[in-house]
Symmetry: C2
Subunit: 177 residues, 2 copies
């Protein structure tokens, strides 16, 4: 096998990752991806047999990247639950308030695409699991998780970090009981 194989495949995925986040899935065409990744169209279809398959690979990669960054960020934090909210602030600065890639995809796809729904579900389940693990209280975890999710959405909608600060504070109060 050519040693460039991974390189080209990765370049496709990295470019798709960036464009899907910046513009959304349906607003990003195959042609734009191959132009910006500087690869031939035939090379894309050599690695992915359809745009949907590329979408699946994208979500898998996104889940990996997000989790790595998330747990890396929380590494040296004492209160990881509250620190999770700070992570959102960093992300908004990095991606200009594009919001959650998985929720964005959820709005751009349909339940018939089972593989895609599954990946979104498993990303969100993993996140909820984190809160459950940290809090040892499933009910409280689900509430904090909801605040966390809404913090992402509201900060995207208003293009402001304020909702995050505010919801973090409310989360803190709930933890203090």
């Amino acid at each position: 096998m050519a040693h460039q194989k991974q390189e080209v495949r990765d370049r496709i995925l990295l470019t798709a990752d960036r464009l899907f986040q910046e513009q959304g899935f349906n607003e990003t065409g195959i042609n734009q991806i191959i132009n910006e990744a500087k690869i031939a169209k035939a090379s894309l279809y050599y690695h992915f047999k359809s745009k949907e398959e590329l979408c699946v690979a994208y979500l898998e990669q996104r889940n990996r990247i997000w989790n790595e960054a998330f747990y890396e960020f929380l590494k040296n934090k004492t209160n990881k639950v509250l620190a999770a909210f700070d992570f959102l602030i960093d992300r908004n600065l990095a991606d200009d308030f594009k919001g959650c890639s998985f929720l964005n995809m959820l709005s751009e796809t349909s339940p018939e695409k089972k593989q895609i729904y599954d990946l979104i579900q498993s990303h969100k389940s993993g996140l909820l699991l984190f809160f459950e693990y940290e809090l040892n209280d499933k009910e409280l975890a689900y509430v904090i998780y909801s605040l966390f999710e809404n913090a992402i959405i509201e900060s995207k909608l208003y293009r402001s970090q304020d909702p995050i600060y505010r919801l973090k504070k409310y989360a803190q109060k709930l933890l203090e009981r």
Copy 2:
């Protein structure tokens, strides 16, 4: 002015409303709308000068329809805050778990479309205002509002009413303090 004017305009909006919800905005073409509404393309562009303008009218109408149904549902309920969660269950049954039209649009548009962002913001602000009015406690209202929002999203993602029941129960506990 022809008395049919409103009729045709309404038929366009009603059809767009149904299709945008069923399939999403970007997945719905102008041609499908005019076919299903049984009107001429020129008639659509007579009433709306672009698809984006149709989008704006759609969101305005959706906000009206949603609020009417919402407050009608809550009319005879004693605990309106908790009843709001029951409203979500009804809506999921009616629209087959399509989720929130405004959040769906949020994922399909960009902040440059200011008018659209504004309409989404004002819909969500109105909803938050409802909770604030009912609860007389801005902090609690924002928390319940977050549970409500996440109830919509999770029930869509898992195509299940369970998240709503669960989050309603947690909301109830928060109210009881």
